[in-house]
């Protein structure tokens, strides 16, 4: 392997409003290597990549490309150097062909018109060179997500990119599509294209990467060569000894002796996003669901609650089978706080009062068909007091509030009800620390009142801090239960990554 360094970021510092996010970070990529970048949520991976690609400016440090220091202030600068970024949200245009996508914005011309022949010929040549399973004339709208990603990669290669940055490229791919992508990545390596590979999935990193840089709390934790990439060691490096033993990162799990409230048996959908999942939740228990993104936790919860369909299996609440529609589940005592707050959580144009009331018109007083404005408003004001929404203006449109307050409104409409089970999916994503603590307090309070709280979260610290018992899902199945003894972030991450004793 060539040892020449193609990209080097030296002594990078960056802070956001006084909070240091990157401190003295060093990162280098050699020519023709697949270099993985790992770290927990908030370790600084995406900030580092955004600095390298010119999206953010750095506070201090320097970036070197092929031995020369460079100043990048936009993605266009970076593209000129020969770096292409394959984002999670693909930027290909479905109505166009592969060739049209590859040459979008810089089509070859002949007499001022687009030279389609040349465009197709050049694209075919590229496809052949790298052995992609594509045709230049394929319509992108007919391609699956995996092939669309290849179009995106092809677009990068057509600009003579020497370095490709891939951010969680397999997050939305099927197993087969991922396999095909790995093959392509290996071919690219043979052609001396360098790749920065960002992933949470240890097995992929182990399989593909020549080296691995681990970030932890905005600092370099380690650079490991391929033969040093040992899963357990990587996890320990990511989480860090001091963090793992500090308060909030390890907690004694317990089994709740109360009666079973929710009993799920053999739950499966028809495309294997969750398979034969069985679990029980007891009265007053906070049951945490851990696992990597894409493990099937969200899909499972949506199906139990009844927004999505499942194929087989049963879910019973106090011995009565659910009817698997949102309306009937709410009547039975369910509440559901969805993962995607902005798109699924609240009605942005409506006020706090009306958002809170939305699930509660069965309990708000009414005379005939006419609901009592006063009772509706009183409920909104009660919710504002109970969950501390600020500012406490009950008429403010929820769309104009901060993320933390929006989430409190979403919670508010459920806690006005006589709940038996509350499912919360990523309840604190993008929320400030103060509001987080308040949300945890609300969840703990509900559990004390006997409500079953099901917590799905990718934030390991949150999972361990809030849960009484933890189930870990992987590839659609529950593979590990922590119901006694001390559990640490490493243990959850190891289970989610498939390292089981």
């Amino acid at each position: 392997m060539a040892n020449e360094i193609i990209l080097e970021a030296k002594n990078i510092y960056k802070s956001f409003s006084g909070v240091p996010v990157l401190q003295d970070v060093h990162f280098e990529v050699r020519k023709g290597e697949v270099h993985a970048l790992m770290g927990e949520n908030g370790a600084g991976k995406s900030t580092l990549i955004k600095i390298i690609t010119g999206v953010y400016s750095k506070d201090a440090g320097s970036i070197w490309w092929e031995g020369k220091e460079v100043q990048v202030s936009s993605y266009a600068d970076v593209q000129k150097l020969g770096i292409a970024c394959i984002y999670q949200e693909l930027s290909v245009e479905p109505p166009l062909t592969v060739a049209q996508n590859v040459f979008l914005g810089r089509e070859p011309r002949k007499f001022g018109l687009i030279d389609h022949k040349k465009m197709i010929k050049d694209t075919e040549a590229l496809i052949k060179q790298y052995g992609f399973p594509l045709k230049a004339t394929d319509l992108v709208s007919n391609l699956g997500i995996g092939l669309r990603q290849l179009v995106e990669i092809l677009k990068g290669l057509s600009c003579d990119s020497k370095l490709l940055i891939m951010d969680e490229p397999t997050a939305s791919l099927s197993g087969k599509e991922a396999e095909s992508l790995f093959g392509i990545i290996e071919k690219l390596r043979e052609k001396e294209v360098s790749i920065i590979y960002i992933s949470h999935r240890l097995e992929e990193v182990y399989r593909l990467s020549d080296r691995l840089t681990v970030l932890r709390n905005g600092k370099n934790a380690a650079v490991l060569n391929h033969d040093e990439i040992e899963p357990r060691k990587v996890i320990k490096t990511m989480i860090g000894k001091e963090v793992d033993e500090s308060a909030g990162s390890a907690k004694e799990m317990r089994t709740n002796p109360n009666e079973v409230v929710l009993d799920v048996k053999d739950f499966s959908d028809d495309i294997g996003r969750f398979k034969n999942v069985s679990f029980q939740a007891h009265k007053g228990e906070i049951l945490g669901f851990g696992g990597l993104i894409g493990a099937g936790r969200t899909e499972l919860m949506r199906a139990i609650y009844g927004i999505d369909k499942h194929k087989s299996g049963t879910a019973t609440l106090n011995g009565v089978e659910l009817k698997y529609t949102a309306k009937s589940s709410i009547q039975a005592g369910f509440g559901f706080v969805p993962e995607d707050r902005r798109n699924q959580g609240f009605i942005p144009l409506l006020s706090t009062v009306k958002n809170v009331a939305l699930t509660n018109y069965d309990i708000i007083k009414a005379s005939g068909p006419s609901i009592s404005d006063k009772d509706e408003r009183d409920m909104g004001i009660r919710a504002i007091k109970q969950i501390d929404i600020r500012p406490d203006n009950p008429d403010k449109e929820v769309g104009l509030m901060s993320g933390g307050n929006q989430q409190k409104v979403v919670l508010g409409k459920w806690i006005m009800r006589d709940l038996k089970v509350l499912i919360v999916d990523e309840p604190t994503a993008g929320i400030d620390v103060g509001a987080k603590d308040q949300i945890y307090a609300i969840l703990e309070d509900l559990a004390k009142q006997g409500v079953v709280v099901i917590l799905v979260t990718s934030d390991l610290q949150e999972l361990i801090r809030v849960s009484h018992r933890i189930l870990v899902m992987r590839k659609g199945s529950i593979i590990k239960e922590f119901n006694s003894g001390v559990v640490t972030q490493s243990m959850v991450l190891e289970a989610g990554s498939g390292i089981v004793d």
Binding site: I307, T325, A326, K327, S329, I330, Q331, F336, P338, N343, Q344, G345, F346, I347, P348, L349, L350, K354, A357, L358, T359, Y361, I364, A366, P369, S370, I371, D373, K413
Partner: protein, 326 residues
């Protein structure tokens, strides 16, 4: 006490401005009771229609078919009355049948839109053509007159249409403002996914909205047929323009989730005043369309400007500056 914003005050201001301008320009003819009665009379058909179609607008949907459905329902009503020899029984049956046709049309729209996920624009664009086609077949493209019985002709005489408009608007206002169903309409229009998670059936609400739109359109058809004492295939054609215009001028967001019945009725009255003003000032009717179009653009532009954060910032700055000077 809530502070009134520019947005809330703009409607009364515009209404007063219209009155003042027309009073000054045509003092004797405009302010007469008969003229004002005529304005409301001419507004009543699309006032009735927009009272129902507002449900569709609030969902972010659109119903382009209401103009030709108005025609089809007028034809249904008149043909039934004629079939029963202009008897009062015929009138009763005709009204019932016509309302049924309106509800059925709405049901078809709602079911197609929710089952096949076809955009409302396309579905109602197609049914607009179909309804007109059906009217053509039924009338054989001829004018069918219907000047009897009084039970029918009285529907179109003042003040009956105005009273019907007020009743339709009041019921619509009550449902949207006072009932849980009304709240659900705003919720589905504002964020259908969040509404579904909150246990609201988006399908049911959508079908209901198109049925209400069909129902008020049928009432509009009956009133229009009675006013003109005749009907033909082209009766009501272009009325969808007036209804959409009333909604837009009245501050209804065609993206859904925003708008009120009083706003929509305000929009309808403004259209009536505009039309009346143009007539009183002897502007040839060939030029009316041009004026109407410009008014729509002005209304939409004014609305967009008020929502623009840059414009609001500019207003706030001016306010501060003025406070400093004072």
């Amino acid at each position: 006490m809530k502070k009134l914003t520019l947005n809330q005050l703009s409607k009364p201001i515009i209404l007063v401005a219209f009155f003042l301008i027309l009073t000054i320009l045509r003092p004797s003819s405009f302010l007469s009771a008969s003229n004002l009665g005529n304005v409301l009379w001419s507004v009543s058909v699309y006032g009735i229609m927009v009272s129902g179609t507002i449900f569709v607008f609030l969902l972010g949907g659109i119903d382009l078919s209401i103009g030709s459905l108005c025609g089809l329902t007028a034809v249904t009503c008149v043909m039934t009355i004629r079939h029963f020899n202009y008897s009062t029984t015929g009138v009763l049956l005709g009204i019932l049948l016509t309302l049924g046709v309106g509800l059925l049309a709405g049901l078809v729209h709602g079911v197609i839109i929710t089952t096949f996920k076809v955009p409302a624009f396309l579905v109602t664009f197609a049914t607009q053509i179909i309804f007109l086609g059906l009217s053509m077949i039924f009338t054989n493209n001829k004018i069918l007159s219907c000047q009897n019985p009084p039970a029918f002709t009285m529907i179109g005489k003042n003040p009956v249409p105005i009273i019907l408009m007020i009743i339709a608007a009041a019921i619509s206002w009550f449902v949207l403002r006072k009932t849980a169903t009304g709240r659900y309409v705003y919720a589905v229009g504002g964020n259908p996914q969040a509404a579904a998670i909150s246990g609201i059936s988006v399908t049911k609400i959508t079908i209901m909205a198109y049925m209400i739109s069909g129902f008020t359109t049928a009432i509009g058809g009956i009133v229009l047929a009675s006013m003109t004492q005749q009907c033909m295939a082209s009766t009501g054609s272009g009325y969808e323009q007036f209804v959409i215009m009333a909604g837009v001028i009245g501050g209804i967001s065609l993206l859904g989730g925003e708008g009120t019945v009083p706003g929509a009725i305000f929009g309808a009255v403004i259209i009536g005043l505009l039309q009346n003003g143009l007539n009183l000032m002897s502007v040839p009717s060939t030029q009316h369309g041009l004026v109407r179009g410009i008014v729509i653009i002005a209304a939409v532009g004014f609305d967009a400007l008020q929502r623009d954060p840059a414009f609001q910032g500019w207003l706030a700055k001016r306010k501060q500056a003025r406070a400093k000077n004072a």
